[in-house]
């Protein structure tokens, strides 16, 4: 297997190493795995978003994904959609989110990436959005509705700005296509653990480990698993086969508790929850 997408550090073409590349280089050298919580920006407001990011990183999250609320999120399940709707109903705007990220990113000891629909990027302006992320100190983006065929333009825009464009592979992705995706992805590959939308599952598919192991043998890029991870048992099961795990709905569901439990309590509950996953990860 010819490795056409070597580590950016070792590539003769680029001296740059993004903060995501640095993170995984370090984790790999220590034989450790990443835990990446996902949160919605602006649910219930951007002050809370900032507090949650600080809390998550203080508890040991390796990287955080910030979901940009979108009105028609077909790739997301009911928990994240409800969270997006709450944020949008309060009038959240992209420019305000970017401002919060630019305040937080430089102070956090972990890279940030945004999860954002291409509908928003296109309307905002592809270059303009990439520039704004770069200036904010955000390391990259995940664009769940931009498959590899439609991604060359954005990939180039990201590359020239040293931003990572993290692409997704699903259990239904044929092997040759997975290799093509690995070739154009940067930062890491987001492996969708179940064919379906985001959400917590009670069981993960048994053939998952085998598929992820295969992909990791084909690419120097780290492979992280997301969608449906909610329990310490999931973490224990999957950590050995992946470079990192992404937890979304299970955290976002807890964000809805701000309304009833208050900010401090919710923050602590999210922190405790993530810590329980981190404990499982280190075992």
């Amino acid at each position: 297997m010819l490795l056409s997408n070597p580590w950016p550090l070792t590539s003769s073409l680029s001296k740059f190493m993004s903060s995501i590349d640095e993170l995984f280089t370090k984790l790999r050298s220590e034989n450790r795995k990443a835990l990446m919580p996902f949160i919605t920006a602006g649910d219930p407001d951007l002050d809370f978003t900032a507090s949650v990011l600080q809390e998550l990183v203080a508890r040991g999250a390796s990287m955080c994904e910030v979901g940009i609320p979108y009105s028609d999120p077909i790739a997301d399940g009911p928990v994240i959609q409800a969270s997006y709707t709450r944020a949008l109903n309060k009038g959240i705007k992209l420019n305000n989110i970017l401002k919060t990220l630019s305040n937080e990113a430089p102070q956090l000891a972990a890279p940030l990436v945004t999860m954002i629909s291409y509908a928003i990027i296109y309307r905002h302006g592809v270059e303009k959005y990439a520039d704004a992320l770069k200036q904010s100190g955000v390391a990259g983006m995940i664009v769940p509705d931009l498959p590899v065929e439609e991604s060359p333009r954005l990939a180039k825009v990201c590359q020239t700005r040293d931003l990572s464009l993290i692409q997704l592979v699903s259990p239904l992705t044929p092997r040759d296509r997975a290799l093509k995706i690995a070739d154009t992805s940067s930062g890491f590959i987001y492996y969708v653990s179940v064919a379906g939308i985001t959400g917590e599952r009670t069981e993960l598919p048994p053939e998952l480990a085998e598929r992820v192991s295969w992909l990791r043998e084909q690419t120097p890029l780290p492979v992280c698993i997301g969608f449906g991870i909610s329990k310490p048992e999931h973490v224990k099961l999957l950590a050995p086969v992946a470079d990192g795990l992404i937890v979304g709905s299970a955290i976002v569901r807890r964000m809805a508790d701000v309304e009833t439990d208050g900010r401090e309590t919710t923050l602590k509950q999210i922190g405790d929850y993530v810590e329980s996953l981190l404990t499982a990860l280190e075992q």
Binding site: Y70, S71, D72, P73, I74, A75, G77, P78, Q81, A82, T85, L88, K93, L94, S117, Y118, A119, I120, I121, Y122, R123, H124, P144, D145, L146, P147, V148, E149, E150, S151, P152, R153, L154, Q167, L168, V169, S170, L172, T173, P174, R177, I181, V192, V194, A195, G196, I197
Partner: protein
């Protein structure tokens, strides 16, 4: 990756040889979907391409269209409506006379036949006015397929008769309570379902929207409308129509009517969107008239969005037109100047409904009433020797309750 076309009037040559392999109609179309759906779309595209070359598939579809749907649908000269307008002749392509009362059945039979060919047993669909839901439930009953229809709660309220029909036909109607609780949210839910069920389920999409190959496939299944119109025009008045008018929500009846005319340059093609209450954002559903190119539901096309790319609320009294996006081929036809697009308000469409009811004894669907309204306007401005064909996409029985409500009259 394409760039957005500008609103400049630089008309390029319009081709009927679209989409390309990437599902592009000029700059428009494509596939903006989660990776999980790509496999399903690839599979669908492959099966669809194979079915086009399969003589048995085509023969079966032709037989169904003739003996089950009742095609060809008549091309009817609306004499009294023509006299009322006092200008060009108005002819109606009677898709309202199809089985289930609208053009939607042309497409659902094709896609259901494709579902059978793929060996899948479960079908999902979205519906706005309920016509596509009824047509899908009908096709599924015919083939013995399991059918689940996603429908916004607001539309369920507006289209009660169709909801009941779907249930009678054995379909399960799943109410969608997220977002605006209309067609757009039903599309979201159907895609979500499909992402978790692609291996056993086929998604029968009702319009020329969504990711490739849906816009092409739905257009092709609906093109029988335009093809028959060409044939019937030649036999009825030995010429082609001067103008062809159709309403545009997602744009399936218009695409099916317009497509066979694309390379017949002398025929003007006019699409009519829902102008709703006014031209203010939120008051209408006219992306081609007031919107900009952007991404929605897996496709790059004209769309109604705010400056952040969030989909704007839309309004039309007609549930079938109440949609913030439009098929990518319409955007292509607009950008090449091959078709022109305009809109018609709720009030004007209602006047056209009344005119057709009283002058011709035909209750048109509220959707189709928008096209009738524009045709009446054009007819009154054109000489008597010109001919306008309107795609009368559906019948208005389903709208009776809603029309009574809008007119403030008691129903039943």
């Amino acid at each position: 990756m394409s760039t957005a076309p500008t609103n400049k009037k630089e008309h390029k040559k319009c081709s009927a040889n679209v989409p390309d392999a990437a599902g592009r109609y000029g700059d428009f179309g494509g596939r903006y979907v989660p990776e999980t759906l790509v496999h399903a779309l690839d599979q669908l595209e492959k099966e669809y391409e194979a079915s086009r070359l399969d003589a048995q598939f085509q023969a079966e579809l032709d037989d169904l269209l003739k003996n089950y749907v009742g095609r060809p649908s008549p091309l009817y000269f609306a004499k009294r409506l023509t006299e009322h307008c006092g200008g060009a002749e108005i002819w109606l392509k009677r898709e309202d006379l199809n089985h289930t009362g609208a053009h939607k059945i042309n497409n659902t039979l094709g896609q259901a036949l494709l579902t059978m060919r793929m060996g899948k047993q479960r079908v999902i669909a979205e519906t706005g006015a309920g016509q596509h839901g009824v047509a899908t439930a009908t096709a599924c009953a015919h083939f013995g397929l399991d059918c689940i229809v996603y429908m916004g709660e607001e539309d369920i309220r507006r289209q009660a008769p169709n909801v009941f029909s779907m249930k009678l036909l054995g379909a399960e109607v799943r109410p969608v309570s997220s977002g605006s609780r209309t067609l757009r949210d039903a599309v979201n839910e159907a895609f979500r379902d499909w992402m978790g069920s692609v291996e056993t389920t086929n998604y029968i999409l009702g319009s020329v929207v969504g990711p490739h190959p849906f816009p092409q496939m739905v257009r092709d299944f609906q093109s029988i409308i335009g093809s028959e119109t060409i044939e019937q025009s030649r036999s009825r008045f030995s010429a082609l129509p001067n103008v062809v008018v159709a309403c545009v929500g997602g744009g399936s009846n218009a695409a099916g009517m317009f497509f066979p005319f694309v390379e017949l340059d002398g025929v003007e093609l006019v699409g009519v969107e829902a102008g709703g209450r006014s031209d203010k954002p939120g008051d209408h559903a006219s992306p081609l008239t007031y919107g900009r190119p952007g991404v929605l539901h897996g496709s790059f096309s004209y769309v109604l969005q705010d400056e952040d790319g969030q989909t704007l609320p839309v309004h039309s009294m007609s549930a079938g037109l109440d949609y913030p996006g439009v098929g990518p081929e319409h955007s292509y036809w607009k950008s090449t100047g091959r078709a022109t697009y305009t809109c018609c308000t709720d009030d004007v469409a209602m006047q056209a409904f009344d005119a057709l009811a009283k002058l011709e004894g035909i209750l048109p669907a509220l959707e189709s009433s928008h096209a009738v309204a524009k045709a009446m306007e054009i007819a009154s401005e054109r000489p008597r020797d010109q001919r306008i064909v309107v795609c009368l996409s559906g019948r208005g029985d389903k709208d009776a309750c809603e029309i009574a409500r809008l007119k403030g009259e008691a129903f039943g």
